[in-house]
């Protein structure tokens, strides 16, 4: 039962990163691929009806973590206190930038929110990358199962690490590159004209950066967190996930060359899914891994879970709930499918 909730949680978070990931990537690419107000509106129209729903996957994941593994929720959220509160502020900036930009048509007003959107997206990508790095490297959990990390200490992933060290910074950089690629692919898929052309150039450039950075990151992971090997040694079937991400990488590069926009976006989605699934495979059964040498303090699916009775109750409403979510998503996407959004001349030209 605990394992099932670990899988469901990993699933929810992966969906979140794939979906909101293209919003972040779009935000990072935003100022680079658009020149005129018209082009910017076109990009915003591409994510306008969906970004809020995408963000809900994170909130729902947070809720599920709280419900299924309360100790991990409590320890993780209080341990990353400063970083998390800053994430909240960035979410406020991102959300308001998208919602309020169109209220006045004044260059200072729109310019301010444009910058806000781009900046918040970039910083959120960096922070989430660093967070993933922290999960892999481990955090200094004490015997009570709590920890607190400052932003940085000596930038070394030792026994007293900060949120930022060379390894998590590498992960932040890699994540930012991946999401930039993912977002650029989305812009290419959803827009046309000069914007799409610039976005496709950005996707090509970031594609090779992503390949190089991912390779470096993957090769240093075993040195930073040796235990990540264990599950792969015991069950080699897990190698399917890293291979999946390599396939996704290959697909997106190949498809971009051949002008297959949807396949290219699918490739970057596959890359993200593969990487996150590979991470989850390596971390299981840990939710919060302790730093090297203190592994007895790790919070696992067993010592952090809610009661079996509670988890069983939860499974019932989760099945009903996720079916409803699927129903809404399908019906909303069908409603917006293929129709011409207002003020979106690019789609008309196609």
């Amino acid at each position: 039962m605990e394992t099932l909730w670990f899988v469901l949680l990993a699933f929810m978070l992966t969906v979140y990163v794939v979906l909101d990931g293209f919003d972040f990537g779009t935000g990072i690419a935003y100022l680079f691929v658009s020149r005129t107000d018209e082009e910017r509106r076109m990009i915003l129209a591409a994510i306008g009806p969906v970004w809020n729903g995408n963000e809900v996957w994170l909130i729902a994941s947070g809720g599920l973590l709280f419900f299924a593994f309360p100790r991990a929720y409590a320890a993780g959220f209080s341990g990353f206190y400063l970083a998390l509160i800053i994430v909240l502020w960035l979410f406020i900036l991102r959300g308001l930038s998208l919602e309020l930009r169109s209220h006045f048509n004044h260059p200072l007003w729109t310019g301010f929110w444009d910058t806000g959107f781009a900046l918040a997206s970039l910083l959120l990508a960096i922070v989430f990358g660093a967070a993933l790095g922290n999960l892999i490297r481990g955090v200094p959990l004490n015997a009570d199962g709590y920890f607190f990390t400052p932003f940085w200490t000596d930038f070394q992933p030792g026994p007293e690490p900060g949120i930022l060290d060379w390894f998590t910074l590498l992960m932040a950089l890699t994540t930012t590159a991946i999401l930039t690629l993912h977002g650029a692919n989305y812009v290419v898929m959803k827009t046309g004209g000069d914007t799409a052309r610039r976005a496709s150039r950005l996707a090509r450039q970031s594609g090779w950066t992503v390949a190089a950075l991912t390779l470096v990151a993957l090769s240093v992971v075993p040195f930073v967190q040796p235990t990540i090997h264990n599950n792969y040694d015991a069950h080699p079937i897990g190698w399917i996930f890293p291979l999946l991400s390599v396939a996704g990488m290959g697909l997106t590069i190949w498809a971009a060359r051949h002008g297959q926009e949807v396949a290219s976006f699918g490739g970057s989605s596959l890359l993200i899914i593969g990487l996150l699934a590979a991470t989850a495979w390596g971390l299981y059964p840990n939710l919060l891994t302790a730093t090297v040498g203190a592994s007895a303090n790790s919070l696992t699916i067993d010592n952090a879970a809610a009661s079996p009775h509670g988890l069983t109750i939860g499974l019932k409403w989760f099945c009903a709930g996720i079916a409803l979510v699927a129903l809404y998503s399908v019906s909303v996407h069908r409603l917006f499918w293929g129709k011409v959004p207002q003020r979106d001349p690019a789609r008309d030209r196609r």
């Binding site: 306008g48 009806p49 969906v50 729903g53 963000e55 809900v56 909130i59 729902a60 947070g62 809720g63 709280f66 419900f67 299924a68 309360p70 100790r71 929720y73 409590a74 320890a75 959220f77 209080s78 341990g79 206190y81 400063l82 998390l84 509160i85 909240l88 502020w89 979410f91 406020i92 308001l96 919602e99 309020l100 209220h103 009570d144 199962g145 709590y146 607190f148 809610a306 009661s307 009775h309 509670g310 109750i313 939860g314 409403w317 989760f318 709930g321 996720i322 409803l324 979510v325 809404y328 998503s329 019906s331 909303v332 409603l335 917006f336 011409v340 207002q342 003020r343 001349p345 008309d348």
Partner: protein, 457 residues
Amino acid sequence: MASALLYDRLQFAFTATFHYVFPQLTMGLALLLVCLRTKALRSGASHDRAVARFWTKIFALSFAFGVVTGIPLEFQFGTNWARFSTYAGGVIGQTLAMEGLFAFFLESSFLGVLLFGEGRFSERLQWAASLLLFIGSWLSGYFILATNSWMQHPVAYTTGTDGRVHVDSLLGLLANPWLLWQYTHNMTAAVVTASLAMASVGAFYLLSGRDIAYGRTFVRTGVAAGAIASCLMAFPTGHGNAKQVFEHQPVKGAAMEGLFRTERGAGLLLVGQPNMETMTIDNPLEIPSALSFLVYDELYAQVKGLDAFSRELWPDNIPLLYYSYHVMVGLGTIFIAVVGGSLLMLWRGMLYDARWLLWSLMLLAPFPWIATTAGWMTAELGRQPWLVYGLMRTADGTSPLVHSGNALFTLLGFLGLYLLLGLLFTLLVIETIWHGPDHHATQQERGQESVTCGSGT
């Protein structure tokens, strides 16, 4: 550590209070919008459609601010109240996770349909979207209040060997008896907020002599809905709430009424200042025996005062609790009087010319927010010193390793950021009201024209 506790409490209180400025308007407007859209669908009149569009615009603004300020609340259970989350996650994790899955997805999916659907989808579909938004927002309120109700009145749980609590029966949790009055009271209050906002905007148009037809619709709708809701808010929901407080949380009841000594035939205090040194009320003005009657339906029933309880069970800020409660009740009474009077004048056909009454309606708009804030302060200050009533003290719920410097840093950040958000929201709402319903209608038509031209090429 003591100051970290203070900052944690201030931060949660501030962010929750500020957040709730928006959902109460959204939840109330969601109900009114369903009514307005139903009317527009039936009549097909462009006037009714413009009315619905105008309030959808305000709704959307409020929704957007509600979303961005709501996320911090779910995260703060973990960031600032880690020991509480560890302790109670096995129970309240259920309701919070259900809110995400059942309410947030519903709302975020169909808000897009309502906002981006103007001119693209049929009226019927937009009506359905507004109905789903109403259901979503009221469900969201339900799950949050189920969480709060459990903290006020814990039910349906078992305590594990490690001291953490676990849910026993989901139905028991969702059908907490506390929830009945708390939910109905809270939701009728939300309708009062939205109705009075609508009446106020209408009164502004009528008094300024512009958009008269819209002004009359707004005033009429706001006054009618506001009259029903404000009466329901007092009776039975407010009354039911107070009775259950005296039944299950008698210390809170005594403190909010300012009853220091146990009395037979206790009076209902209308005005007065609690003096914590002498344990008396300065300048009291009270209705004799009324409190006994309201709580126990009997004029000479005994009501327990604060002296019946040991001091460590007293709420830690009794004067503030007392004032919050009295501000809420006082404002609620004023709402009933003004809106009830307006309804009478409306019925007699004299409201639109009674400038003094329109002035009152216009100026009344901010006060429902003050009343709901005071009401929540009563509920939460009165719950002290408990975080989970009778089970866990607030001081034992904080995050053990988040020290006061960190908590103060983020508290100051929230104060500054939310000041800006408040100004921004006010600016945008005033701009929307200033431009009026017709401005929006013409904008939409222009938008549609450009689409028609665009698709021709």
